[in-house]
Symmetry: C2
Subunit: 494 residues, 2 copies
């Protein structure tokens, strides 16, 4: 092997992931996100730095979603961070849902403000105060606006980077429509875009459904959701698309004259997708060597590691540069790691930690054979490929890796689904960290009983039926034994 | 003319700009930005909505700058909104400069925070607390990070949308280097990118120079700036690139081991470009008909207005659709305004108000002659163009419009430059709303005298000399008559 500094054993250990995903999930997650340089902790609990390695993922998500939103005629805008208290208070359920978590600005410079200002936990109230001014006639509809911004929710539960942070980044779309039908159609279109983003970028399958009345967005008519089942047996609410009905329209008096010159209130939706999605992806795909990045969110998709010896160094490096061009010609973003001071083994570990999808090894023997070795990050599979085929094969490997990651995540969910007819089956399955399918009578009493008696599991959603309605159940409620109304998924959740 | 509803005269007046740019600049600006639907006012003074028509400009700026920053190896990230008070207080000059304008979060939900949190007015202190952790060795340098975010500065001067708002959007770059030379080189590279953005996107020429000691960024070694002279005789600080020296590095103890294993403090820069730039552009180019958008920031570059009569409507619309394809094939973003309920005249006014660079008229005669009419927004010039040449000619018209806007802005500045040798010449020129070139001894006394005795004009910058140093002056100081040190620009300013 080449003569360069190998780190000492204990140093290596410190640099690598020292905790197993299957043993201590939380600690493992924490090591992944810090050692792969995704986040940095700060002195403010619940507020984290998105380092370039994670922010670049978010930028890919933004670009993808923006292009999807544009197809629906959505335009981007930016509304103020501050919401005057009286505006936040306008819609009753909304204010009750959000004020317990609001961060308040009370002073500026040396002065006390006459009215304190909320930092947006979500922007319905500040946006709809403008919508009221902009919407006059049916010709002004639909109005479809999205913003990418930071929001603050001062949760008092234990914060977890990405998953539950006090400040996070998201997009929030806010639309106004003439009819309920038009609005409702969009609720599902948006959820489809969200699903597509999870499927096509993050390589994860989704469960789509409705939130229960108890769990819906504060102020909404109903909430649709995407839930994703994770390897630690918890489900994560991955994003939501709300039909607001006319609740806010009435509270803010957002109305228009229809074609008969009659005044109508608009029908509204709001929908959001946040940086939590990155956390879900990390939980899903990463392993005990570090981060695993699905190829389509990786800003570096392949790294070339030359394996050099003094006598053949130039030949190998020259080959490595050729390999780089082959990959770039296929649109693959690639880095050549020609750092002199580190051994190939050290580099392997580092790039594995950072989750780069493909490693390309080029050594003296590969130069002789006019080939290179493609190694996949997710399964370690090695492929010896002739230089002429490298670009094509690397591209295929990236596509295959995307599919395999998706399939593995789907299998994980399928392997962990359980059905519960009786309550004791439910508690047992939850204890076994399963995703439980059950029938529910739709009463809040039973919903609360589930939470109380399973150690915190809850109804994560009522899955969609054939007509995108709430899937009906035939049997009896898993809690009370009365005739069931809906099929539900129950799990511990983030 | 076609038989559709023409708005009543007074309605038309209300919709158009009713105040002249050359008479009441402030009122005119306010009409432009609201009637072209660029901003909306909110209940919080100094906080505005960036509506889609302005936010889309900002997105173009972001894309352009991101690609330029990437060439320098800058990576994007996101740091928290909140800065603990003790962190903000770490660098003495910095805290003195910013605390008078800080918005403070003191409460969350029902609880009082034990330490109040500043909403970032700029992110040096929160970022450098992380930099300290990330930088250990010379191999970690240079570190070049940028973030796009909102910041809050609770200024007590009269707020003006875009130009002086309490919340604004910007990018802030923060870099750390091994040597002063390397850092300083970057300060000017960045200023060049900023200039390029003003020149190539916004079609405006720049004055580049140094801020005086009094006007530099709080905590910096020195500040370089771009200043832009506006039609109302005021100059606007358009963006700044600071060399921070080692001030923050020492306050935050950001150090590295150099190649000799010796501890060194890093050399740092920070640099920012904000949504103020849009305000400057609006002030510069727009006219008494409304907004004028430089073609490269216009998300819609051309609008086709068909001029239809009952008997030829289909023919004209079909031609208009053909014209649309011609323009799109040249990469021009174009809208076909086929709304039935409005007259062409009404549409002309509306699109002029919104600043769309080109209007393409297609009427029955144009169909006969196989042509269309290209009308430029900036000068009203009409060009009758054969269909076959339309794409090419429209593209040329956009390029020419960009150049003409730039040239006109440059001429404006040149025509308004004055030189002052004596103080009474200075006061006279300032009264005449000139951009005054003068010699200055470099004393703070004289700098303050300028402000006091000219009704608020100030030294906006010391322009660059041949070697990117401060341009030296030969004569005597315009204030005290002692030997001058630097040439300076003096103007009233935003």
């Amino acid at each position: 092997m080449p003569k360069t500094k190998e780190p000492k054993k204990d140093q290596k250990k410190e640099i690598g992931i020292t905790i197993k995903k299957e043993e201590e999930f939380g600690e493992w997650f924490s090591q992944i996100i810090t050692k792969a340089e995704l986040v940095e902790y700060t002195d403010v609990s619940g507020c984290y730095v998105f380092r370039p390695n994670s922010y670049s993922i978010w930028e890919k998500v933004q670009a993808f979603m923006d292009s999807e939103f544009r197809k629906l005629g959505v335009r981007n805008a930016y509304f103020p961070l501050f919401i005057p208290e009286k505006l936040l208070n306008r819609e009753k359920e909304h204010v009750e849902g959000f004020t317990p978590e609001v961060a308040w600005v009370t002073h500026t410079g040396e002065s006390k403000l006459s009215e304190r200002l909320a930092i947006r936990p979500t922007s319905e109230t500040i946006m709809y105060d403008s919508y009221k001014k902009w919407i006059r006639s049916w010709r002004d509809l639909p109005l479809k606006i999205n913003q990418w911004c930071n929001v603050v929710r001062w949760e008092f539960k234990n914060p977890v980077p990405f998953i539950r942070s006090r400040e996070f980044l998201w997009q929030e779309g806010h639309t106004a429509h003439r009819t309920k039908d038009e609005a409702e159609k969009e609720v599902f279109q948006i959820l489809d875009i969200y699903e597509k983003t999870y499927n096509d970028l993050y390589a994860m399958p989704c469960i789509k459904g409705f939130k229960t009345e108890k769990e819906k967005f504060a102020g909404a008519l109903y909430t649709t959701t995407i839930e994703i089942f994770l390897p630690n047996g918890k489900s994560a609410q991955a994003c939501t698309s709300h039909c607001l009905g006319q609740n806010f329209a009435k509270a803010f008096d957002i109305s228009f004259l229809d074609e008969k010159e009659e005044k109508q209130h608009v029908w509204q939706n709001s929908w959001g997708y946040s940086t939590r999605s990155m956390g879900i992806m990390i939980c899903m795909h990463s392993d005990n060597k570090g981060l695993v990045l699905p190829p389509r969110v990786a800003s570096t998709q392949a790294v070339i590691v030359p394996i050099t010896f003094a006598d053949s160094k130039e030949k190998v490096l020259s080959k490595a540069r050729e390999v780089k061009k082959c990959l770039e010609s296929e649109g693959i973003s690639v880095v050549l790691d020609d750092r002199d001071e580190l051994t190939p083994g050290w580099k392997f570990n580092e790039w594995e930690m950072k989750g780069i999808p493909l490693r390309i090894e080029v050594g003296p023997k590969d130069v002789e054979k006019d080939q290179a070795v493609i190694v996949r990050r997710d399964n370690g599979k090695k492929d010896f490929v002739k230089t002429a085929d490298l670009g094509k094969k690397a591209k295929e490997a990236l596509e295959q890796m995307h599919k395999d990651l998706y399939d593995r995540a789907l299998r994980l969910r399928q392997d962990n689904e359980a059905e519960a007819k009786e309550f004791h089956e439910l508690t047992k399955a939850i204890k076994d960290r399963k995703l439980v399918k059950a029938a529910w009578c739709s009463s809040t009493e039973c919903e609360e009983m589930i939470k109380d008696k399973t150690g915190g599991a809850k109804i994560i959603c009522i899955p969609f039926g054939k007509d995108m309605d709430r899937k009906e159940a035939k049997g009896r409620c898993v809690c009370c034994g009365k005739p069931a109304k809906y099929e539900v998924y129950i799990a511990k959740s983030y």
